[in-house]
């Protein structure tokens, strides 16, 4: 039983991590090596090293080697057919849109959550559930009116349009997560401040916000990741180079010269690395973040 359990974990662990490892390996290959019908998974450097210590090499090892190259990373600067700019220009948009929308979401969300946490707002429960339910909307079902609205305001094709949209999209997450965090800060803090003659607003800015730092950081990471990964709005509202990386990758599909696999792997790897780092950073809060703060642990 114990053995079976270990084996199951091992096999699943391999299945879970191999696609990303394969991505890393593929990013170091030439295009021919990525589409070889005999998988090439040993960089020739390893083979050289093995030969130098005199390890015997079978014929299989010779077939499965490839010469590592960083050419794919260099090719990210060139503009592919179907794209409006290089990978880097899209990445710049992703960072800009992600960071600004996250800052706005966390700011607005924290204020809103504070209101719900500390005041008796009429219909508070209904409002909170309305906030949550906005998260369930499929982007494609609301994109038409948003598109019309953006055309009126000349926001289509701009980074600002996506920043605004992602701010709103992430508000539900920010409000629910921050409410959970703020509820955990004792009211005694503000009460003490008010006794000392400070205003409520002063107490919020100078006492509560510093206390809620961790919560805000965690909320920011989750907002950033969902803005970073969003695809539906990014590709439909914006066909210019002001859009985010997922839309860039979509543009490479159906490429006439065949898919540039090494570049896709290299770009994909660069794109997901920050997410992996952030996941490690907030690993203790993953449960909370993924369930809108409804499960706290």
């Amino acid at each position: 039983m114990q053995l079976l359990r270990g084996l199951f974990l091992l096999v699943y662990g391999l299945l879970a991590t191999l696609p990303l490892c394969w991505m890393a390996l593929s990013s170091l290959k030439s295009r021919d090596d990525t589409i070889s019908p005999y998988a090439r998974f040993v960089p020739s450097l390893v083979q050289e090293a093995a030969r130098s210590v005199g390890a015997p090499l079978g014929s299989a090892a010779a077939v499965s080697t490839f010469t590592p190259t960083v050419a794919a990373y260099g090719a990210l600067s060139s503009v592919h057919a179907g794209a409006q700019g290089s990978f880097w220009s899209y990445l710049r948009s992703s960072v800009l849109i992600g960071v600004l929308s996250t800052a706005a979401s966390v700011l607005l969300g924290t204020c809103c959550a504070y209101g719900f946490s500390r005041y008796r707002i009429p219909g508070a429960k209904d409002w909170l559930f309305f906030v949550l339910s906005t998260r369930f909307m499929p982007p494609l079902a609301v994109v038409v009116p948003v598109l019309m609205m953006y055309r009126e305001l000349s926001l289509t094709g701009t980074a600002l349009g996506l920043i605004l949209l992602y701010t709103v999209f992430n508000l539900s997450l920010a409000v629910w997560l921050m409410k959970g965090f703020l509820d955990e800060i004792p009211r005694a803090y503000e009460e003490a401040a008010e006794v000392d003659g400070y205003s409520r607003l002063h107490a919020f800015v100078h006492i509560i916000l510093p206390q809620a730092r961790t919560g805000m950081a965690v909320t920011a990471v989750f907002c950033l990741i969902s803005a970073w990964n969003e695809y539906g709005f990014a590709m439909t509202l914006n066909s210019s180079a002001n859009t985010t990386v997922p839309a860039y990758f979509a543009g490479l599909q159906g490429n006439i010269d065949g898919m540039p696999w090494p570049q896709i792997a290299a770009g994909g790897l660069l794109f997901v690395t920050p997410i992996v780092l952030f996941t490690v950073l907030v690993r203790k809060h993953l449960l909370r973040g993924m369930t809108f703060g409804t499960i706290k642990q």
């Binding site: 991505m23 309305f130 499929p138 997922p246 990758f249 690993r283």
Partner: protein, 288 residues
């Protein structure tokens, strides 16, 4: 400033934005669905229920609903079963548990659009690594992305890879919330492993598993990114509600028809969302 005024300054801006970007599009969708608006050109006039008549006479819509429902049901149940089994396996403390757990959780944080595109390389029928592994094991090597009978399975497979960790995460929370004293009492009573599982583990995890299922189901209902990244829109064997909407609005340019579809999809989504919030309310009322 009085407390009453101040409270609205706190909650007002966020709520106003949410109403503007959610309630307004909803109403506008309804208005548009009764017109003949197109993606290109600003002219539109009232056409009554013509769009709805088209939607209901179109077998494609019913087909997309059926396929999306099948996708949600299959994805959620496979992920739940696999995730719960994983949680049971990883439950006990061992060396390297934290590291393994983090590694297992990574896929659910990644961008489905980007990772989905890379899966095309893994699943390629001729040179994909998956078929090479299957071939080496002497198993059949399906044409994952081009064979009509396998495309849907491919999307499902990637979704399961991405979201099983989510089910595992919530299952673990459920398992960890079970007090050890219950297991000790069961041991004193010499209950069998199966009885312990059926009478203690499963019922005590159930509320959280329910939450996980609802969260995942509302998300799977929106399935768009993975389909777009693997088979693209307008593929009969993988068309979901979201890709159908994309096809109608952005490829065919039928804005108003898309709005009619969207209104019906939104009714569906609101029904599921209501079920979800009711469940959550019930969960919150439960004494901890």
């Amino acid at each position: 400033m009085s407390g009453r005024r101040l409270q609205w300054w706190f909650v007002g801006p966020a709520l106003a934005l949410l109403v503007l970007f959610n309630v307004f599009p909803l109403l506008f969708n309804v208005v548009l669905s009764f017109t003949n608006a197109e993606l290109v050109g600003a002219e539109r006039e009232f056409v009554g229920g013509a769009n709805y008549a088209r939607v209901f006479s179109d077998p494609r819509f019913a087909e997309a609903i059926r396929r999306t429902a099948a996708f949600v049901a299959l994805a959620v149940s496979i992920e739940l079963a696999l995730g719960f089994t994983l949680a049971l396996s990883i439950r006990r403390e061992f060396r390297g548990k934290a590291l393994l757990l983090t590694a297992l959780l990574v896929p659910m944080m990644l961008s489905p659009a980007v990772i989905g595109l890379f899966w095309n390389l893994i699943l390629n029928g001729n040179y994909g690594i998956l078929n090479q592994i299957l071939g080496a094991l002497g198993l059949p090597e399906p044409q994952w992305l081009t064979d009509r009978d396998w495309k849907f399975t491919s999307v499902l497979l990637i979704d399961v890879w991405m979201w099983t960790p989510f089910m595992m995460l919530i299952s673990l929370a459920g398992l960890n919330s079970i007090p050890a004293t219950l297991y000790e009492a069961a041991q004193v009573d010499r209950a069998s492993a199966w009885t312990v599982f059926r009478r203690i583990t499963l019922p005590l995890c159930a509320p959280l598993l329910g939450l996980a299922v609802l969260l995942r189901a509302t998300d799977a209902l929106k399935q768009f990114d993975l389909v777009m990244a693997t088979t693209g829109p307008n593929d009969k064997s993988t068309e979901t509600l979201s890709t159908l909407l994309y096809q109608v609005v952005f490829r065919d340019g039928k804005l108003a028809l898309g709005s009619a579809y969207a209104c019906l999809v939104l009714v569906l989504v609101i029904a599921v969302a209501t079920a979800f919030t009711r469940y959550l309310e019930g969960l919150n009322r439960r004494p901890a």
